[in-house]
Symmetry: C2
Subunit: 664 residues, 2 copies
Amino acid sequence: MARTVVDLANERKKCDFDVEELTNYIDGDAISTHKRRQLENKVLSVKELFDVVPEEYLSHKEKYENAIRKSVLLYKVLEEIKDPNETEMQNARTFFRSLLPFAIFKDNSPFSLHYSMFVPAIIAQANDEQKKYWLKRAMNTEIIGTYAQTELGHGTFIRGLETTATYDVETEEFVLHSPTLTAYKWWPGSLAHTANYCVVMAQLNIKGKNYGIQPFMVQLRDENTHMPLSGIKLGEIGAKLGFNTVNNGFLGFDQHRIPRDRMLMKNAQVSKDGVFTRKTDSKLTYGTMVYVRVMIVNSMANHLARSVTIAVRYSAVRKQSQINTDQPEVQVMDFLTQQHKLFVAIASSHAIRITAAWLWDKYEKVTKDMEAGKSDGLPELHALACCLKAVSSADASDMVITCSRACGGHGYILSSNLPQIYGLIAAACIYEGENTVLLLQTARSLVKAWEQNARGEKLSSTVSYIADTRPFGKWENSVEGIIKGFERVAACKLSAAVSTRNKYLKSGLSPEESWNMTSVQLVAVSEAHCRALILSTYKAEVDRKAQHLSAPLKRAMYQLVELYATYWSLQKLGDLLLYTSMSESDVQQLRQNYESLLLKIRPNAVGLVDGFDFRDEILNSTLGAYDGRVYERLMEEALKSPLNAEPVNRSFHQYLKPFMQGKL
Amino acid sequence: MARTVVDLANERKKCDFDVEELTNYIDGDAISTHKRRQLENKVLSVKELFDVVPEEYLSHKEKYENAIRKSVLLYKVLEEIKDPNETEMQNARTFFRSLLPFAIFKDNSPFSLHYSMFVPAIIAQANDEQKKYWLKRAMNTEIIGTYAQTELGHGTFIRGLETTATYDVETEEFVLHSPTLTAYKWWPGSLAHTANYCVVMAQLNIKGKNYGIQPFMVQLRDENTHMPLSGIKLGEIGAKLGFNTVNNGFLGFDQHRIPRDRMLMKNAQVSKDGVFTRKTDSKLTYGTMVYVRVMIVNSMANHLARSVTIAVRYSAVRKQSQINTDQPEVQVMDFLTQQHKLFVAIASSHAIRITAAWLWDKYEKVTKDMEAGKSDGLPELHALACCLKAVSSADASDMVITCSRACGGHGYILSSNLPQIYGLIAAACIYEGENTVLLLQTARSLVKAWEQNARGEKLSSTVSYIADTRPFGKWENSVEGIIKGFERVAACKLSAAVSTRNKYLKSGLSPEESWNMTSVQLVAVSEAHCRALILSTYKAEVDRKAQHLSAPLKRAMYQLVELYATYWSLQKLGDLLLYTSMSESDVQQLRQNYESLLLKIRPNAVGLVDGFDFRDEILNSTLGAYDGRVYERLMEEALKSPLNAEPVNRSFHQYLKPFMQGKL
């Protein structure tokens, strides 16, 4: 047996808790683990879904064609294995929420927008009659759709969108038009060459008056020939850092006409004679945005878990240098600096996953309340989702980079899958609300809470710490103490930012300019709030579940909580020293605690990542596979490069030989 | 004229200094600017060097073949335009040190290792007779070579390399062998399919005794057929995050025999009868490592300058949201958060470039001293190069990511070139010494200096602050005050780390284990030292040149120095609060200074990046071109995607149509 295989097997012997128990804990319970594994077993046993030549060697065009081949095949597989007790949509969602797409596409399917955006848009925006017709067609995949909002010139600022839908009373049609180049829809997945229908968001104009952004169901391509319809310009936006198989596209309209009933009319209507009415609260659409962001937070936890599984297993297998010069080379995981890089990523994945689940419960509650006509929980939910999406994606991005570098040069090779996971996370820092913009939205609600508190109003639970004006008291080096410290930091930073804004206001700046001049501080306030929130939620949720855990697993889970709290307190020393009673000796103590926590976690490290229970296909990594055959896999994957199929590349005869012989 | 073009032109009117003066200052002087532009004009006017279909759409194999085509052509162009007053090697280096390769390859040429490693290895390691023969063949490009040291299983820890060269006295040959899979050479650029010769580093064994790592000139491929020689296994290591055209390869030996005279014998010799002698100081090879690291530091400054040029120009053109709701949308650069993201990257590029130049001068001085037999400057130089390479690449990496995100979704598109620049910088964090390992090497020399100081010995100038035991005194919010603060932080962190190590020593750990247990702190010490060093060097060098600058440019340059110092003091608040007399009101003052510095720099932002004087071809970016035609370029580049050549992709007929029609 190879040395590396033995090393990894030995690591597993060191683990002092039951890995299966950890897996059940992560999945929720043993039944969920079983169901997940069943789905994975079924899908991953279909060999045709996997590439013989790894995707990274194909041309951009070939990647797309291959992804379509696999998407169609995957659909058939999912049809065969779907759970009859679930709806079609639930089945589709179960799959797209799983990590299986990343096993098959490395990024995602060109059909993913169909289920994640097109169908939900029909459900949320079509009236009953429309829904009956379009939902059926979509769920039968008679048509493939996507959702087009972002334009070349506008993303975050939705009011700035330029595409127009002008109602023509004479013909009872809407005329869709892209008045400028920047009005072109730009980014929607599936839009380029895949979808033949699309929900398009456009500025509704009737008789010279603007009625804001409304959704329109637009046929893009002929159902039989797939040719773009007249007045419609379609194409792809080009190669990107990641997501190259999702077929992101552009869409321009040249006075393209669609019938009146193609406006999705659940929330607003236009009558034949051009009278606009609005039926329902526009807040409802907020709900979808929150839903998507909760999903992103959860996916950040998953991607981070994949990254650190790869890096920890590799670090247990890789040997480099000696610690004691008279002894053999050691596993790189024995270096404290390596533990410092990796273990916090394990803890972060738990912290983010647990906070996402907590946010999901909140989302479900608020949605139920809203259906009963009570929407007062929505602003808090929105503020939470904004900062959690921003902080979780930013942390995951930093940490996947660290995981990647912790694997040295091999983490730079695509067969490690770490660069591709980075690409997925990097995108999440920008899409569905760019992170800085989101943090400023949360900051707005924090400033509002500050003002409510000043007026003596009661605050919602997640910001109640703002009202705590007691002296901070003695610093305590415990998780509880650190949480208290982080809440105090958030409150004090908020107070300082409000003062700064007031100072600018007094100096004569407008409220908006004062806000802008304070915005660097406000972003920091929002992050501080989010750190306090994640930390306290993580701790509270582990507490809540702890009674159901065996003693060894409980200990391991609390070690991660403590590591997470200690890591972040050391990262945010400046704030803690400024705003709490923390002293220099407290800092020394924290550092020492941190170092000894790393040592305690070390023997369990491989067990902790095994507990995430990722199938090798889902890790898709030469460095991270369960058996530790790292070097063999690196070579096997390299040999799949088409360049390696021939000993001499044709460019030698064409260019290199004449060049070296001086005949060029 | 497009709106975006006007916006950028208006920005240029706001700039209050002479951009050409800034360019000359960056290049060194007006003559250097002129020479650089001449070289660029000549190379960039050769249209065949540029791709019709952008590289990102090609398959991995096509990318390589295209890179060989361009490399050969490029060589011819360089032959034609070379400076007759310079040597062949100087001309080659001038080119490879310029940013021109990034205009032509986006990453680099498969020939780059020939000039950057193979030829220098011959010069440094071959004896006169060998040099006469091999250098001529290499410089005439009769042969193409590379340099193979790193193996699949070993990188940083050179003593662990496994490839053996066993001397056979009978036949007067060395037998090269890869005893294991992990002994395969892995990573050298050009090695896979391009080079036919290679300098191979291997463990020399003679009559059962090991004589350490020695260099061997090995023919890899037949000069006529390019077939790998018998006993030699060659191939490429597979696709990576970046550098996909440099043709990184692997190399395995199966008892491959080479004549005795193929060992490069400048520094050590093996006689016919197998007697090993060592001639020169092995420290000399250190020099090459330092040289390469100085080059890397400089290239980090260049890549960062390219990134921020792209992001600043785009931010001047992109409009998004309003600041005042009754006014039109603003340029995103008017948001303080955007200025916060970008301006420090401009300052950092200057700081790093200037420190690299200062280090280069030190390197030249030490090299001269060494030629005169005086090598006592080498350890300090080595320690400086280690931490500067690590910190400059880490900072450049963080900042190119920030630049990329500051461009929103468009920064994720490859035509922006930001993802590719990230790929180049990410590699620099790992190659030529992984950053954590390098920081620990610097830490070792700092601890040594600490001990020297304790013994009352005099310290070299870059660490003399360690000896300063005066009370810190009052905190001063000035660049000088911040430098003093950073030096104190480095000294105090060093002191704390030494205490920690001593504590572990006393507890019974071995020196090596104690070092390991302190290593997280030691990495932080090394970073703190490096921050103090960059900051003080940056300030001192700007001071030194300031008298030659016009008043407006001098003001602009000092604003950047101040911004850089203030930014880092706010980033490192925890350390400054712990180890200096900085107070809460000092922090508030620093924040206010920082905000007002951003406002002062804002009108000059485009001028500052224009001053870097990058040709559009060298930026290679839809978002960063000089004229501001961002949206037009994004569309033009997208249309170059081969997927956009046909309105309907063939996968529709093959898969999509039968699928949607339920016939699959």
